[in-house]
């Protein structure tokens, strides 16, 4: 609405406000303190001979260390795949109408979340002692197949099982929260269209739940990367932490080898974070990629039609123009 008392300011743009900004002396002081400590820290890194940067550089590229990185990555990847698969299943079961499913899922989470991962890893390492032979069959009935535990569940697979099963309990809770975050109205809309529940889960619910699921799952993956250092409990002895520890003990140089391990963990974490960024972007479709569009739609046709007043919906351009300025928040 135009005010008639507004003085005419010639043509063209209004004069921007020119005001003195608020000063923030506290911020400057804080920044100075941080920079001071950073400087001191860098100085010590560079001048303290005990860091032995030459040793760090040497072992950073050592074949045994690289191999350890490889095993750590493999352990992380496989146990996360196992954990995610189980977690989806557990989350579905938790929502099921079948009380046995719900109860099993709850109990699984209760057990695997409630016992230390270290204990679980030791247990899986001892599986062959507990059950030298594993067979599948009807309880107290005929046996369908059997194998020697030691042949199949070697140290590596015991580590994957231990890490994966433990993690599945945490991920199941994350997935459950994600599934619950999807608006029930959309599920009803899909049902009303004649979609079956499995299709609704995979095509409507999960893709949107992923938006909620991915960030904490990325967090868990990074956590898993470092939890793999516990696999010596199995004992599995090829991962990054074990390798660098072994080298440290052999060379009597613990500090540089700790730094080697830390650098590699940081590198992998950084790569994982980049991956997570892109996955988040993918599953943010329809929400995160449209935030900028919540203001008025910039559309020259819209401006023109809006000036022309209300248009009936038979004219798509006109209707677009009139409503372009009323962007409600979506109902979530």
């Amino acid at each position: 609405m135009r005010s008639s008392t507004l003085p005419a300011r010639g043509q063209g743009a209004p004069e921007p406000i020119d005001a003195v900004p608020v000063r923030h002396p506290g911020r400057w002081a804080g920044a100075a303190v941080i920079l001071l400590f950073l400087g001191l820290f860098i100085q010590s890194l560079a001048t303290n001979p005990n860091f032995r940067w030459d040793v760090v550089w040497l072992y950073l590229r050592d074949a045994r260390v690289i191999e350890g990185v490889g095993w750590t990555l493999l352990l992380t990847a496989l146990s996360m795949v196992l954990a995610i698969t189980l977690a989806i299943l557990l989350a579905f079961m938790r929502q099921s109408d079948n009380p046995i499913f719900r109860w099993s899922s709850w109990t699984w989470v209760w057990f695997f979340r409630g016992t230390p991962v270290y204990t679980q890893l030791v247990f899986w390492g001892l599986l062959a002692v507990l059950y030298p032979k594993i067979s599948l069959g009807v309880p107290f009935g005929p046996e369908l197949f059997a194998f020697n535990t030691q042949d199949v569940v070697n140290a590596f697979w015991a580590a994957v099982l231990g890490l994966g099963l433990n993690e599945s309990a945490y991920l199941a809770e994350i997935f459950r929260a994600g599934l619950k975050s999807v608006d029930k109205g959309q599920i009803e809309a899909a049902e009303a269209l004649g979609m079956r529940s499995r299709k609704i889960m995979w095509r409507i619910v999960l893709p949107q739940a992923m938006r909620v699921i991915v960030p904490p799952t990325g967090n868990e993956t990074i956590g898993m990367l470092k939890t793999t250092s516990l696999v010596l409990a199995v004992p599995f002895t090829l991962d990054l932490t074990f390798q660098t520890n072994a080298l440290a003990n052999r060379t009597y140089l613990p500090i540089p080898l700790l730094i080697v391990a830390a650098i590699w963990y940081l590198v992998i974490t950084s790569i994982l974070m980049v991956g997570q960024h892109y996955i988040e972007k993918h599953y943010g479709r329809g929400v995160d990629n449209v935030s900028g569009a919540r203001g008025p739609v910039i559309n020259p046709a819209a401006a023109k039609a809006a000036a022309g007043g209300h248009s009936p919906p038979e004219l798509p351009g006109g209707a677009t123009a009139v409503e372009g300025e009323y962007l409600e928040e979506s109902g979530r």
Binding site: A189, L193, R203, A319, E328
Partner: protein, 256 residues
């Protein structure tokens, strides 16, 4: 209008939520091409009745037939048997539903929302579904917004996409549950216009709404519900101009 085939037949439907008796014996029929408008105060059971028709709720007693087919059950040897979910899904394909809160799929564009069911449920080839989706979006005046996500659309636009999405399954019957109640007043007209076009094209519609003007203009029947029963039903102009029941008169006095 000549008397035609029955598309909806509701016989003695009751619905309980726990102890709460929400529908108390509803009878209603809707002929092919008819627009049946249901009005009534909040909590009178209008949504519940609509949701019983496409089995989003299961009636506690009574029967509902759509297109002559008993919804949710099959009668064998004089006993009713629950239909398996696959069959219920099949029955629902014939019935489009439009919700008060639009309920568009948030991660899909307007176009993808419309294409989803024809591809996933009917197994239509993508190209066919796409062409049809464009045609439907054009029909509701939104072809230019085909690639927008729901969050980028106004409420009125979202509701029109929702109508297009329901139409994509070529339903025999359309159910509308207060389709304009969540809209800003200036956006209501666009949605009502789309619905009027649909009625003019001969779609059978069951519409729960507070838009008395719509009922008068395109409705064939106006039903007033209160407390889970049909209080009064008849040609909209007659019911509006000359309500027979005190409760109807009181309600119309408030919304007109």
């Amino acid at each position: 209008m000549t008397e035609t085939r029955e598309v909806v037949r509701i016989e003695g439907v009751h619905k309980y939520f726990g102890d709460q008796h929400v529908l108390r014996g509803i009878d209603m029929t809707i002929g092919q091409g008819e627009v049946s408008v249901v009005i009534g105060p909040s909590g009178s059971g209008k949504s519940t009745l609509l949701r019983c028709v496409n089995m989003l709720e299961t009636a506690t007693a009574g029967r509902i037939y759509v297109d002559g087919e008993l919804m949710g059950y099959v009668e064998k040897h004089g006993r009713l048997h629950h239909l398996p979910v696959r069959e219920i899904a099949r029955q629902r394909r014939n019935i489009g539903m439009v919700f008060q809160r639009f309920n568009l799929f948030g991660h899909k564009t307007a176009m993808e929302n419309v294409m989803e069911a024809p591809i996933q449920v009917k197994g239509q080839p993508r190209a066919v579904a796409r062409a049809r989706a464009l045609e439907l979006l054009d029909r509701v005046g939104l072809s230019e917004r085909a690639n927008h996500y729901p969050a980028q659309l106004s409420g009125g636009q979202q509701q029109r996409v929702a109508i297009a999405r329901a139409l994509a399954m070529d339903p025999e019957l359309m159910l509308f549950d207060e389709p304009t109640s969540a809209l800003d007043p200036e956006l209501v007209g666009d949605v009502l216009n789309v619905m009027k076009d649909l009625a003019r094209d001969g779609m059978t519609m069951m519409v729960v709404t507070h838009e008395i003007g719509f009922a008068r203009e395109v409705g064939d029947t106006l039903t007033f519900m209160d407390g889970g029963v049909v209080v009064e039903s008849g040609p909209p102009r007659e019911v509006i101009a000359n309500p027979q029941q005190e409760r109807t008169r009181a309600f119309l006095g408030k919304v007109l």
